[in-house]
């Protein structure tokens, strides 16, 4: 059974069909790519899968359970975590606190515990710190735990966002253009990291990306979106050699 499955997912904005009959089936442990020209509806698909938008039609299942049109919070609790195309960090919180905020639903103590600094608070905070530092270490951010998230260099901000998403202990991780704005060296490093996350956390990853080197380097399967519809899907090498895909990217000559 597929881990994440969407069937006939569609959404219209004022008559315009931004995503039309989108189907996807992602197996556990897969590294899956969603590509397509600008404005093809890739981020809209992410927003549908994470509850930012409610689909006009279609269903989404996670581990066979229907999660269509659930709220973002519940979807995260169910096991979907994401990053954003335009980085959305908690900029006035420290790097450590960015991750700790994401541990919110996994290390729980009451408001009373928090205000009165009960033993439960101490124990929980200690465990949170350890867990957060562990995650930061994976991304080489542990040395920067104390500084404000907004003071991180761009590439590290992207990594922090991934660390934060992982902290919610998702079943599937959705990365929206993780390599955007990175130089080739950083992109190479990021590819390593993504592969590492998949192996270390046994994670399933769906990513949107424009960087073809990254896509062909790490994705096992691809779905190509064009004008809100699926153009083609399949093994990465086959898809990238498909003349229709090349035409969609380079335009009709």
């Amino acid at each position: 059974m597929a881990l994440l499955e969407a069937k006939n997912l569609s959404i219209s904005f004022g008559g315009l069909r931004a995503v039309d009959e989108f189907n996807i089936s992602i197996e556990k442990g897969q590294l899956y790519g969603l590509i397509g020209p600008n404005g093809a509806g890739k981020t809209t698909v992410f927003n549908l899968l994470t509850g930012v938008y409610k689909p006009t039609e279609g269903i989404v299942t996670l581990n066979g359970i229907d999660i269509t049109a659930k709220k973002t919070i519940d979807l995260n609790k169910a096991g979907i975590a994401r990053t954003f195309q335009n980085i959305r960090l908690f900029k006035d919180l420290s790097v450590l606190d960015n991750v700790k905020a994401a541990l919110h639903n996994h290390y729980v103590y009451s408001t009373f515990d928090g205000i009165f600094r009960t033993p439960k608070f101490r124990k929980c905070e200690k465990a949170m710190n350890e867990r957060a530092m562990e995650l930061l270490k994976v991304f080489d951010l542990d040395e920067k735990a104390d500084i404000l998230a907004s003071n991180l260099p761009y590439g590290k901000q992207r990594k922090l966002e991934i660390a934060r998403a992982l902290a919610t202990e998702p079943k599937i991780l959705l990365l929206d253009e993780p390599a955007a704005g990175m130089n080739p060296n950083e992109t190479l490093e990021l590819m390593e990291t993504i592969r590492f996350i998949r192996d270390k956390f046994d994670m399933t990853i769906l990513l949107i990306e424009h960087d073809m080197k990254l896509v062909s380097g790490i994705c096992e399967e691809l779905t190509v979106l064009n004008f809100g519809r699926i153009l083609t899907k399949g093994k990465t090498s086959e898809v990238l050699n498909n003349p229709e895909v090349i035409k969609a990217y380079l335009g009709d000559e």
Binding site: T43, N47, V52, Y53, F84, K91
Partner: protein, 295 residues
């Protein structure tokens, strides 16, 4: 008959709210900010008329025109000095708090210049009332007639302006998407300034009508009507021009009926209960659109 006369009074008060609400709603639509000082521009407008017509004894028409010029200039200055620098600020609270500061500044300048005492305002409208029924059961004052007519003219004029003129199209484009509008060659800053100018000119008209119908004036005169007009704008659907008009008129009727049939002291509370109910039941208001934040 009293029901009918309350209804007409409500529509008249509502027309004033509507004219003020138009200013709020346009500015909110285009600059995405709640211009707290809008109500106090009304007060400045009313004082301008008072000085021109009562103190200097000039013709009321001249007073009204002066008031429009003063308020427009004031609106433009506030936008330029206090709001424009904060465009793109990290926190949306920044411009809101500044707007409160401006509102407070205007009130306190008026307090220093004119004093805290309420002065009686001489109506600028000189039309004899219309009486219905053999014993004058229903009397509609000149102020009421002029206010309702002014409300209709403003509404129609503004709708035509926004839908038919180039500047109106620019305003709509900027309120939809600033980035795209500027790529289309629209001067975003000038368009926002224009919106403030129109809103403030409307505030001047509202000030004259308000103080003619309720002939008192003090530095806080604009505050409460300003807030209620914002409620009206939310009621009708913030960002919508016909919404502001409908919301304004409905709120005016609710307030007058509340005063007449429930309790005069509780009238304000009733108006705000309306706001709470609207926010609970339909936060986008009667004609409002649901605006999705881009992710």
């Amino acid at each position: 008959m009293s029901f009918l006369s309350y209804l007409i009074k409500g529509i008249s008060l509502g027309s004033v709210y509507a004219i003020i609400a138009l200013g709020y709603t346009m500015v909110y639509g285009i600059a995405k900010m709640l211009n707290f000082a809008h109500g106090d521009v009304i007060m400045v407008g009313a004082y301008s008329v008072f000085i021109m017509s009562t103190s200097l004894g000039l013709s009321p028409i001249f007073g009204v025109l002066t008031s429009i010029v003063v308020c427009t200039a004031l609106g433009l200055t506030i936008e330029r000095v206090a709001y424009k620098p904060l465009r793109g600020a990290a926190s949306p609270l920044a411009v809101l708090i500044t707007a409160i500061g401006v509102s407070y500044l205007l009130q306190n300048i008026a307090l220093l210049v004119f004093g805290a005492n309420t002065i009686s305002f001489t109506s600028v409208i000189n039309i004899s009332p219309i009486t219905f029924g053999s014993n004058g059961e229903l009397t509609i004052s000149g102020e009421t007639i002029v206010t309702i007519i002014a409300g209709i003219i403003v509404m129609v004029g503004l709708t035509l302006f926004v839908n038919k003129t180039k500047m109106g199209h620019a305003m709509r484009a900027v309120s939809e998407d600033k980035g795209a509008a500027s790529l289309m060659g629209i001067n975003v800053n000038a368009t926002i300034a224009l919106t403030f100018a129109i809103g403030s000119a409307l505030a001047a008209i509202a000030g004259v009508l308000l103080c003619s119908a309720y002939p008192t004036l003090n530095p806080y005169t604009g505050a409460m009507p300003g807030i209620k007009a914002f409620v009206a704008a939310v009621f009708g659907g913030i960002g919508s021009i016909p919404g502001a008009m409908i919301g304004g008129v409905l709120l005016g009727i609710i307030e007058v009926f509340g005063k007449a049939y429930i309790s005069s002291q509780m009238a304000d509370a009733i108006v705000f209960a309306v706001l709470i109910i609207v926010l609970l039941v339909k936060p986008t208001g009667i004609l409002g659109k649901n605006i999705q934040e881009k992710v």
